[in-house]
Amino acid sequence: MSNYAEAFTTANLGRLFMNTLYVGLVSTLLSLVITILTAFAFARLEFKGKELLFAALLATMMIPGELFTITNYSTVISFGWLNTYTVLIVPFLVSIFYIYLLRQNFLQIPNELYLAAKVDGTGDFKYLWKVMVPLSLPTLISITILKMMGAWNSYIWPRLVTKSDDMELITNGLRNAFTDTTGDVNYPVQMAAVTLVSIPLFLVFVFLRKYIMSGVSRSGIKG
């Protein structure tokens, strides 16, 4: 057990756990709101250039993320966002894939419900939150889990934009804390840390397997 205790203090795991949890929760929440609003507009509302805009959004999914990272790195520096929670949350709030997923789900909800609500004088906004969101709950849960897993597993971006150990996410601490200056690795302690980091994911998987698998089989993306 002492290995676990040492792992926890060496990598400052407590702080990193809290960082990751905070970034994961906030970004999931905001991302869900944005995704719901956008998917609703594309599924139910009429506006000029809807099809064209949607096609353009889908086309950006082909571009490798590294291409965005280069400019986003300069952008967040000029915003003065380095070493903040904002930089870990905001750039990834919009996911075209989640919008696409939810829009497909919204489209399956029969139009009659929408018209009935209109007749009853229910506004679009109320209809969205009272009818469409509850009916799309499984998709929303899938999105939530994938997004949380993304925060838990993200490595590259936090590595780039956090310059102090306090602001890192869990995976960064895990990779770099146990190798001393000579390059030697304290394996027992490192493996204890790996275990600590893996357990939450394992638990999520055991209890929410159904949602993860249905989300993943439609996406082909990891984290």
Binding site: L57, N72, I156, L174, N176, F202, F205, R209, G220
Partner: protein
């Protein structure tokens, strides 16, 4: 009147996404393409107010001619060539086997899917520990404390231990560890997709094969694979795209040195190269490398689609 009100409202719903997309998606595309063609441009010159750059293909020529790029290219292509076919075939066999057994299918399916939710850095570190030799190697009197579990197994069967990832290890040994890890990591998604495809194949084909008493191998190659071909094409295409973007699995095993201790950077990949240039404030080079990567992925995907047009039966 009503229509214009609808328009206005729709854009209100879209506003948050549009703003974020403009800043973090549209602008990067424009800016990255522009920077790739600006020779001598970097974040430093921009900050210093000195912006002497000219337009041209200089960044591309410099990047392509650089030995680091050629090494990264070689590593990335080798990893793709080995891991994509290997993981696809293994996933196909496992999916067919899972589909054939009734009891315990759910449990086995879950076990095979588990690697997907694990953290690729964390598990990479576990793989590194399995292949790691602890002690002093290469000195006159080597003192080995542990050969690592993989070498222990090899020694158990009378083989010689191998220096897989430590200082002084050979390129092929590093590559072998990487391939094993990436294949293991790629299996869950492929099995999930292929198993989903298998379950939607009409049972009548198999019944007909049974009547004709066709051998198992023939059923697999003549019925299962052709009917599964859209799914196979899908996992191969996503496999190649993922393969060209390989990075974190190498960080997981070798750390940020991207190679064994005596030869850092030996196992760097295209994505690793982009981040290296970025950290050295060479935005032009990073942009050019990212565009080259995009071009390669696009070409490979188009070739894949072209091949699958001829081979896939929808």
């Amino acid at each position: 009147m009503v229509e214009s009100k609808q328009q206005w409202k729709a854009w209100l719903y879209l506003a948050p996404a549009i703003v974020l997309l403009l800043v973090f998606t549209v602008w990067p595309i424009i800016n990255t393409v522009a920077m790739a063609f600006m020779e001598g441009y970097s974040g430093l010159t921009k900050a210093g107010g000195e912006a002497t750059f000219k337009i041209g293909f200089g960044n591309f020529i410099h990047v392509v001619g650089h030995p680091d790029f050629q090494q990264a290219m070689k590593n990335t292509i080798l990893l793709c060539v080995f891991t994509v076919p290997l993981s696809t075939i293994l996933a196909l066999l496992i999916a067919v086997a899972l589909n054939a057994i009734k009891p315990l299918r759910k449990a086995l399916q879950t076990i095979f899917f588990l690697p997907y939710v694990t953290n690729s850095i964390a598990i990479g570190m576990v793989f590194a520990a399995m292949f790691n030799v602890i002690g002093t190697i290469g000195t006159r009197r080597p003192l080995i404390i542990s050969y690592g579990i993989i070498n222990d197994i090899i020694r158990l069967f009378g083989g010689n231990w191998v220096n897989w990832i430590n200082s002084g290890s050979e390129y092929w040994a590093n590559m072998f560890v990487m391939v094993v890890y990436i294949v293991w990591n790629a299996l869950p998604f492929k099995i999930l997709v292929l198993l989903g495809g298998l379950q939607s194949i009409n049972k009548q084909y198999y019944d007909a094969a049974k009547v004709d008493s066709a051998p198992r191998w023939r059923v697999l190659t003549r019925i299962t694979v052709p009917l599964l071909s859209p799914m196979i094409a899908y996992v191969v295409i996503t496999g190649f795209i993922g393969g060209f973007k390989e990075y974190t699995s190498i960080v997981g095993i070798f750390g940020e040195n991207m190679g064994p201790a005596h030869d850092a950077g030996r196992l760097n990949t295209m994505v690793g190269l982009i981040y290296d240039s970025l950290e050295m404030d060479n935005q032009g080079g990073a942009s050019a490398a990212a565009l080259i990567l995009f071009g390669i992925i696009l070409i490979v995907t188009l070739i894949n689609l072209q091949v699958s047009k001829k081979r896939v039966h929808y």
